[in-house]
Each structure stands twice: as structure tokens, then as C-alpha cells.
């Protein structure tokens, strides 16, 4: 449910560190809470994002939720597949449901995130 090789934010985003880049998506808990994802609004390649600030939105049938950047940097890749098939976020939140890749401007920010165990604790506490 919460892969050990990822780091997690309190806003239910995950990040997979790939060199100086981070691949970002939302967690199993987030997609389950949302329900069927029907739409996702992502930034463009080249946009700058800031840790803790909204970089887009994800919509279920009934609701619109902000997506929050776990780290700051430049968006270098955007998942076009998920824009056409938003249900990938429900079906494969850590794989095909990835959202953006950020070239990190301050990898030190990763220390502010949780590991899998801490995130799982947070989710359990509700």
C-alpha cells in the first residue's frame, strides 16, 4: 500500500527520487478517499513549483482537490497518459498514475517528508 522506497507528504502525495529528480503522484489512501478520478489538471513542462503549494487539481465525480508539490523545482515531465486516462490514478497510483517529474531545486526538502512507516501511521490515526 505504501512502497518503502518512496517519501510521503502530509497532503497524501508520494515522491520517488530518481537522481536529482523526483517523480510525484498521489497515494493509495488519497485515490481511495477521492473515489473514481475523472479529471486531472497538471502544470506545463517548464513551470516552477514550490513545496507545499498547489501545482494542479484532481477531480472525482463529486469533488475537486488540489495537488500539492512535495518539493520545489522545475516541472520537467508531465504524464500525458494520465490526462487522457485519469482512472490510472485509481488503478495504479504508484506506477502508471504518476503525475509530474520535478527537477529539484533543494533536495534538502526531502528531509521534511515522511517515510512509508510514518505515513502509514498518519493515515491510521485518521
Amino acid at each position: 500500500m505504501y512502497p518503502a522506497d518512496l517519501k510521503y507528504s502530509k497532503d497524501h502525495e508520494w515522491i520517488r527520487v530518481e537522481g536529482n529528480r523526483g517523480r510525484v503522484g498521489i497515494t493509495h489512501y488519497a485515490q481511495e478517499t477521492l473515489g473514481d478520478v475523472v479529471y486531472v489538471d497538471l502544470p506545463r513542462v517548464g513551470d516552477m513549483v514550490k513545496a507545499g503549494e498547489s501545482f494542479g487539481t484532481v477531480e472525482s465525480v463529486k469533488s475537486v482537490s488540489d495537488l500539492y508539490a512535495p518539493v520545489s523545482g522545475e516541472v520537467v515531465e508531465v504524464n500525458r497518459e494520465v490526462m487522457d486516462h485519469p482512472d490510472l490514478i485509481n488503478k495504479d497510483p504508484y506506477g502508471g498514475g504518476w503525475l509530474i517529474i520535478i527537477e529539484m531545486s533543494d533536495p534538502g526538502e526531502l528531509d521534511n517528508l515522511m517515510d512509508a512507516r510514518a505515513y502509514e501511521e498518519m493515515v491510521k490515526e485518521g
Binding site: 473514481d36 475523472v38 479529471y39 477531480e59 465525480v61 463529486k62 475537486v64
Partner: protein, 368 residues
């Protein structure tokens, strides 16, 4: 969930994994497994909804017909016992107090089915009207009644297993009283809020669980699914049925909302004068159906513009599970109301184009 009102089926919803939310002060499931799955079940097979939160008001006694004719815009006098009609109830300014169903049970006996959110308001409204009609009794019997909705193309065959009455022969907008369904005495009504064939079943609150269980069991082999409020909303939106608090409120007239066919101009009713004036002058805004041209999902409250001018706003919107398009209902200035007009929907600070399309968005398949 502790401070919320509970329907007789509350425990059932929890048992079935219902995701409970607060709907107008009631604890009800927005979904069980998936809004999209539940929606599709109703379109393709059948779905069962707990709608016991709706209000039921009995109006009876000498003068009941006259009171109702004054209160509602539609013509109640053409109802025979067992007939039902849909009507707005207007305030003196022509705005909508509520949109309701009126069942005629007898010569001087009627049952109103009203929106949950307006139950107390409507009860007070009718009690106030009854001051002029001293022979009339207004009773709020909501807490004694439960209501289930069985909707979808397989509804008739599912119900047929549970009753010796012939459900398929009940015409649309007719009701049968005292029908036994699964051993439970019901008022069976060929009505619904989904755009599919189906029934609404009214029974005593204490029998609701038994009725629910009987229908769920009888429909299992047909793929009957329990459905929540989320699917109820996407279904009615595809059928372009108005929802009070969205397409209708005290400041919106039935003329603007496209409900003129439910107005009988040949009788007197509250709000008639103002509505006649507005009809003569022509309405300034109209409810239209909108389809997003490319990306974006319209939602309640989003502003509509045309050439940089604000022309209205969205009242309901969603990603349509059946049509696989983003659809919305909204009010626009009459100049922008013609089908094929392209307008802009403002979504989080950016404009996305939408086209005015005919409603309903979805029509059920015709069966002979």
C-alpha cells in the same frame, strides 16, 4: 454522524460499506463502491436507492383540492385517485419554494412528496395556506414513511418476482395503493429521478429494511446494485432534471427554469400575476444544457462569460459516466441561450469553451 438524522436503513448502509455523508442533515451514503459503477448499473440493469429522507405531507379534508390548486402551478384538478403530477410551488414573486410530486389518493386526500431540504419550510408554507381553508388538515407524515427507488430497465422484471400486482402495467406517473411487495404493503409509483424506467416505493418506516432486503435478494441475479446519492445526482443530471438549491430556488421562476409546461394559466395560483408579467415581457435568463468543448469540468458556481462579459453561472456539472463528456446546467442571458452558442466557463481563473446543447443530454432507450 451522531447529530445527523438517520433513515430506517442506516444500519444497512453501513453493513454494505456505504460511504456516509451529511445530506441536508441526513446521514446517507454518497456511494457504496463507486459512483460510476452504480450509475452504470442503473442505466444497464437496475439500482436501488434509499430516499427515505424525502418529506411526505398529507393534505386532506374539504377544500384540499382548492388549497392545492392555489399552491401549485400545475393543474391538480385533472388528477384522478392514483394519478400523480410534478409541480413547482411558487412564492408571490413567482420564485420556486419547492418542486414536488402531488399524488391524489382520494377525492379530498392528497400526498405531497417534497425535497428533504425543504420539508420543514414546505410544511409551514402549507399550514399557512390552510388558514384560508379551515376544513383542511395538513400532516407531516415523513417520519412514519420510508421511500425506496428501484430504477433501471430491469426494474419491472425484478419487482414482478415480489408481487402479484403486474408492475409493468402501471402507467408512467400513476400509483397503486396497498400493493404487497415482498410481503410489505406499499404505495407503488411509476416515477423516478434517473431518466430510466423505474418505481418509487413508499412503505411504513418499520418495514423499510424488510422491503430493501426483499428487493436486493430478488434482483441479485439481474445484477441489481445498491446506489448512493452520488449516482442519483449524475443520473438526474444526464436526464437534465432540476435539483432544488441548484437549478431552482426562491429567486428563480419556473419560466427561467424551462418548466412552463407545468404551469396551468387557466387557474389562479400564488405567483401567477408576477409570472404572467414576466412571460409577457420575456425572461432575461434561461436554464441551458452545456457540453464542454475540450477540457475542464463545469461545477456549481463557476462563472459563464461571452466575449469577456459575465452572462451567467453553472448550477450543476459533472463528468457524465454514460456520455463520457463533461456536462453542466446553468443560467445564461437569453442572448446566449440558443443551441450551439459557444460560451466560456471560468475554471480556477482560466476560461474553457462550452457549447449550449439540447436537453435532456440522455434519453433512455425506447422499448415497445
Amino acid at each position: 454522524m451522531e447529530n445527523l438524522r438517520k433513515t430506517p436503513l442506516y444500519a444497512r448502509h453501513l453493513e454494505m460499506g456505504g460511504k456516509m455523508i451529511n445530506f441536508s442533515g441526513w446521514a446517507l451514503p454518497v456511494q457504496y463502491r463507486s459512483i460510476i459503477e452504480e450509475h452504470q448499473a442503473v442505466r444497464e440493469r437496475a439500482g436501488l436507492f434509499d430516499v427515505s429522507h424525502m418529506g411526505e405531507i398529507r393534505i386532506s379534508g374539504s377544500g384540499a383540492l382548492e388549497l392545492l390548486q392555489k399552491a401549485v402551478t400545475n393543474d391538480v384538478s385533472r388528477l384522478l385517485p392514483g394519478h400523480v403530477l410534478y409541480s413547482p410551488v411558487c412564492n408571490p414573486g413567482g420564485g420556486v419554494v419547492d418542486d414536488i410530486l402531488v399524488y391524489r389518493l382520494g377525492d379530498n386526500e392528497f400526498l405531497l412528496v417534497v425535497n428533504a431540504a425543504n420539508r420543514e419550510k414546505d410544511f409551514s408554507w402549507f399550514k399557512q395556506l390552510a388558514v384560508e381553508f379551515p376544513g383542511v388538515c395538513i400532516a407531516d407524515i415523513s417520519s412514519q414513511m420510508a421511500q425506496l427507488a428501484l430504477q433501471g430497465p430491469l426494474s419491472v422484471q425484478i419487482l414482478a418476482r415480489l408481487t402479484s400486482a403486474d408492475p409493468g402495467s402501471l402507467p408512467y406517473y400513476r400509483a397503486s395503493l396497498g400493493v404487497e411487495v415482498g410481503g410489505v404493503k406499499c404505495m407503488l409509483s411509476r416515477t423516478g429521478y434517473t431518466g430510466e424506467d423505474g418505481f418509487e416505493l413508499y412503505c411504513a418506516a418499520e418495514e423499510a429494511c424488510r422491503l430493501w432486503d426483499e428487493i436486493m435478494t430478488a434482483g441479485e441475479k439481474d445484477g441489481l446494485m445498491p446506489c448512493g446519492l452520488g449516482a442519483r445526482d449524475t443520473l438526474r443530471l444526464e436526464a437534465a432534471l432540476p435539483l432544488y438549491g441548484h437549478e431552482l430556488d426562491e429567486d428563480i421562476t419556473p419560466l427561467e427554469a424551462g418548466l412552463e409546461r407545468f404551469i396551468c394559466w387557466q387557474k389562479d395560483f400564488t405567483g401567477k400575476e408576477v409570472l404572467l408579467q414576466k412571460k409577457e415581457m420575456g425572461v432575461r435568463r434561461r436554464l441551458v444544457g452545456l457540453e464542454m468543448v475540450d477540457r475542464g469540468i463545469p461545477r456549481k458556481g463557476y462563472t459563464l462569460t461571452s466575449n469577456g462579459q459575465v452572462i451567467g453561472e453553472i448550477t450543476s456539472g459533472t463528468q457524465s459516466p454514460t456520455l463520457e463528456k463533461a456536462l453542466g446546467l446553468g443560467y445564461v442571458s437569453v442572448e446566449s441561450a440558443a443551441v450551439d452558442t459557444v460560451v466560456e466557463v471560468e475554471i480556477r481563473g482560466r476560461n474553457y469553451p462550452a457549447r449550449v446543447v439540447p436537453v435532456p443530454f440522455y434519453r433512455k432507450k425506447r422499448t415497445v
